[in-house]
């Protein structure tokens, strides 16, 4: 079994699976249960400044969307940062850290955007012996209206300023948690890096309304007939998160900045994908909220087995392995030609490929009277839609045409690698003189 011990910005944990700052890490009781279940670390639910406790709604805090059999696909929440007294949290953090020395324990923070507030909170947490801090610049609901959370995370200058304060007033490793509710994720990451952040973590939740009640016409989750945008998370957000992680991992000014990957991690495979795209570890929330802490056991066994298969002896060998393969559209090989191929042995004759191609794509699949479906190579543009809608895995595959073979659609032979930057139709191409 592969050794999953991970060191992330100097913080060691027995595995790369941390619980994200969220309801599951609200207090000692939950965190100890998580550690007992095997989680490598936690980011303690966000602490705020000393003062009157935060007030949460007393109606539903979560909304959801479901797939078949009520499988939870996406969750949204309007819960605020911790509503427990600061000192209670600090005492519990210290107690837990002393008891669980081998686990990572990072404290999430969110205080008003002035230097004194940050100096004060950093001073208060110094004594807890926690491993690091995570700056919550991500929460899109409630606190943002008060100038915190994503209100900071959406302004790179604020991120840089606050990060600088934190590094000035604390020796703890500092992770900046980014909001995805922004048009270019590299900007806040660059700002964090300029401010001296040791790492970024992303994504925080996405502004969302999960559904609308068509009887009461209120958004869900509904509080007394009204609703507000909450933070969306869970399996549904994973593709968005993967792209944002990759953008930072390959960005000219951000590459090399450690990343803690967050966003819909539900299985070992999700975690491995985040890590391959450059995340040094992952943080999980919705999967634990859906199934309980025990899921980490599948994540541990799955990642170990995968690493053994690949011959990886440390998670560091996996981290970033897919980053060089993420590129811009303009560099994609326009001479890479594939054609869909339908395996008649595997085909169950549902005709979904035909309907999809005939109605919405390129009319490149023929259907016989006996319901035999075949690809017309002279029409197939290799869009992959038939593969995506086919209910039988590997029944339809994309077969690469070898170099020199004739593409029946274009009547051209497959040539060497060539991309848009040199394509004759590209008006920006300047002929080599």
């Amino acid at each position: 079994m592969a050794n999953l011990t991970t060191t992330f910005i100097g913080i060691k944990s027995p595995n790369p699976f941390w619980l994200a700052s969220a309801p599951p890490t609200d207090k000692k009781y939950n965190v100890e249960r998580a550690f007992e279940a095997g989680w490598g670390g936690v980011v303690w639910k966000t602490l705020g400044s000393e003062g009157p406790p935060v007030v949460n709604v007393s109606g539903p805090r979560y909304g959801a969307i479901w797939g078949a059999d009520r499988r939870l696909l996406g969750l949204n929440n309007i819960e605020l940062i911790t509503d427990r007294p600061l000192q209670v949290n600090l005492d519990e953090i210290k107690e837990v850290k002393r008891k669980w020395r081998d686990r990572a324990l990072v404290i999430s923070l969110m205080v008003p955007c002035d230097e004194d507030s940050w100096k004060d909170i950093l001073h208060r947490i110094e004594d807890t012996e926690a491993d690091g801090v995570e700056l919550n610049f991500g929460c899109p609901h409630g606190m943002a209206e008060r100038g915190m959370g994503s209100a900071v995370g959406q302004v790179p200058e604020y991120i840089e300023m606050v990060t600088r304060w934190v590094k000035k007033h604390s020796r703890m490793p500092c992770i900046v948690k980014l909001t995805p509710n922004i048009s270019n994720i590299r900007k806040p990451a660059e700002a964090a890096k300029r401010g001296g952040a040791d790492a970024v973590s992303l994504i925080n939740t996405i502004n969302s309304i999960t559904s609308v009640n068509l009887d009461t016409f209120s958004p869900e989750p509904m509080i007394d007939g009204k609703g507000t945008h909450g933070g969306y998370c869970g399996p549904a957000v994973k593709p968005i998160a993967l792209n944002m992680v990759a953008e930072i991992a390959r960005g000219r000014d951000t590459q090399g900045l450690p990343i803690s990957g967050i966003g819909g991690v539900t299985t070992w495979r999700d975690a491995a994908e985040f890590m391959a795209l450059g995340a040094g570890n992952v943080q999980v929330c919705t999967a634990a909220m859906t199934y309980g802490f025990k899921i980490v056991q599948e994540m541990i066994s799955g990642l170990s087995e995968y690493m053994d298969e690949k011959g990886f002896t440390s998670t560091a060998e996996l981290v970033g392995r897919a980053v060089p393969n993420v590129t811009d559209w303009q560099f994609l090989n326009l001479n890479y030609v594939t054609k869909a191929h339908i395996s008649q042995d595997d085909c169950i004759k549902c005709g979904r490929c035909y309907a999809a191609c005939e109605d919405t794509s390129h009319q490149a699949i023929a259907m016989s009277d006996e319901r035999t479906f075949t690809v017309k190579d002279d029409e197939c543009v290799a869009c992959n839609l038939c593969v995506n809608v086919c209910p039988v895995e590997n029944c339809i595959t994309m077969v690469e045409l070898p170099k020199g073979a004739l593409d029946e659609r274009t009547q051209r032979k497959v040539g060497d690698y060539a991309n848009w930057t040199t394509h004759p139709n590209n008006p920006s191409v300047t002929a080599a003189e």
Binding site: A68, R70, I348, K349, R371
Partner: protein, 447 residues
């Protein structure tokens, strides 16, 4: 419980009273809302779906299942009823394993088809439970059509004709409407008076008068009907029963399975029904299975189905055969009845083993006897009392096109007519299509 399964003879009260209720309740419980949505989600929404092609009434199955999956079972029911007004009963009695579910691509993929029958029942039950009838009649045409037989074919024809604005009178020989739905299928397939409830619901369309206890040829003639109506649809089924043609057939304890089943369906208190200790059922179809299984459920100790050909030739589906054997019924094949023995009442049935060769079925000369105090004959029904003047071929009223008989102005469908299998769903399709043809003919529309 005055008797037990071991009590000799044909007696009632073999089981404890509460057992009868359990035995004759729904053979397959309905899906609840969540189960239906999970089951519906398995549908792939196939293009030009094979299930739809396999359905004799061509119900748009992918569409109605998608309507269930999206939380609109009433819309699903309307999709079903638009093609098959007896979709509620068909959901219960259709041999789906030989029709839509056999064609389902998930049957090909995994051997587990989408549960189309149960989903259809979920949708139709949901709408029917509201007492809503989803169709309205077109403007009155002033035309009148006679329908003979209030079974599936007659009801489907009558409903479609009424919908088109014609006035319909159904003449039915039995005391209650429903035909085989009411008298001919196993109790556990449609418990709680479903057949009558369905007829009542169907008649809400209006414009249909049902005259029960009126038999064609006995109480009314085809000439009368032709004289008083603009068109006639014959859907009177097969009232006759084939004979064994074996010695001793007239002994006490020997019955037609269809009568046994009809008695069962009409009995309020199943415990009062007498059944043999050793029951032998002769036949290989659905009637044989229904009679055998219900004999077992009434408390018979030993029930044996004997079929003269090999098992693969039984017209009862594999699913039905499994249902029988799991109920404790033994199936003996390749054995033909030779004689019924007994002193006044049946005591034994003698069979000869058979071989099915290129020259047809032959007995081998070897015989055996089965102990029996009750013998149920389920070897097929026959057309009786077909009106004079109609061409009859192969024991059925000959039809062409959408149920046109050899006489102009007279249509026929269902079991009494040629074409298609003797299934409820086939009868519905034939009744519906004949109604469309009658409408076109009466209104002078080509078609």
């Amino acid at each position: 419980m005055s008797n037990s399964p071991l009590t000799p003879g044909v007696v009632a009260h073999r089981l404890a009273p509460h057992v009868y209720h359990d035995n004759f309740t729904d053979v397959q419980p309905p899906l609840d809302r969540h189960e239906a949505r999970v089951a519906a989600d398995r549908c792939y929404f196939c293009h030009d779906a094979p299930c739809m092609t396999a359905c004799p009434t061509s119900i748009d199955i992918p569409l109605f299942i998608r309507q269930i999956a999206t939380g609109t079972p009433d819309a699903a029911a309307k999709t079903i009823f638009a093609q098959n007004i007896l979709g509620g009963m068909c959901a219960r009695v259709c041999p789906t394993e030989q029709l839509c579910e056999e064609a389902c691509v998930r049957e090909t993929a995994e051997g587990k088809p989408v549960e189309i029958g149960r989903l259809q029942r979920f949708a139709t039950d949901t709408l029917m439970a509201k007492g809503v009838h989803p169709f309205t009649r077109a403007a009155a045409t002033g035309k009148s059509v006679a329908v003979v037989g209030a079974g599936p074919a007659g009801l489907a024809a009558a409903h479609r004709l009424a919908m088109k604005g014609h006035d319909v009178v159904i003449y039915d020989a039995r005391p209650k409407p429903g035909g085989l739905n009411e008298f001919g299928i196993a109790t556990y397939k449609a418990p709680d008076g479903f057949a009558q409830a369905e007829v009542d619901w169907l008649l809400k369309i209006g414009g249909i008068t049902v005259k029960n206890g009126v038999a064609l040829g006995r109480d009314v003639s085809l000439a009368d009907l032709k004289a008083t109506h603009d068109a006639v649809f014959l859907g009177m089924g097969l009232a006759g029963v084939n004979a064994l043609r074996a010695a001793g057939e007239d002994l006490a304890g020997v019955r037609n399975a269809v009568d046994f089943i009809a008695d069962l369906r009409q009995a309020v208190d199943k415990s009062s029904l007498p059944v043999g200790r050793d029951v032998v059922v002769i036949g290989g179809g659905m009637t044989a299975v229904d009679a055998a299984v219900q004999s077992k459920l009434l408390g018979a100790q030993n029930v044996t189905i004997v079929y003269r050909r090999e098992q693969g030739k039984m017209s009862a589906s594999g699913y039905e055969q499994d249902h029988a054997t799991s109920a404790g019924v033994r199936i003996v094949t390749n054995a033909a009845p030779v004689a019924v023995h007994g002193d006044g009442a049946v005591a034994e049935v003698e069979f000869a083993y058979t071989e099915d060769g290129p020259d047809g079925l032959k007995t081998t000369g070897q015989t055996f006897r089965l102990k029996a105090d009750q013998l149920l004959k389920a070897i097929g029904q026959t057309l009786t009392g077909a009106p004079e003047g109609l061409t009859v071929t192969g024991g059925k009223i000959a039809t062409t096109g959408a149920g046109r008989t050899s006489v102009a102005g007279i249509w026929a469908g269902g079991d009494c007519a040629s074409g298609g299998e003797d299934l409820t769903v086939t009868a519905v399709a034939q009744g519906r299509d004949a109604a469309e043809d009658i409408h076109a003919s009466l209104m002078g529309v080509s078609g």
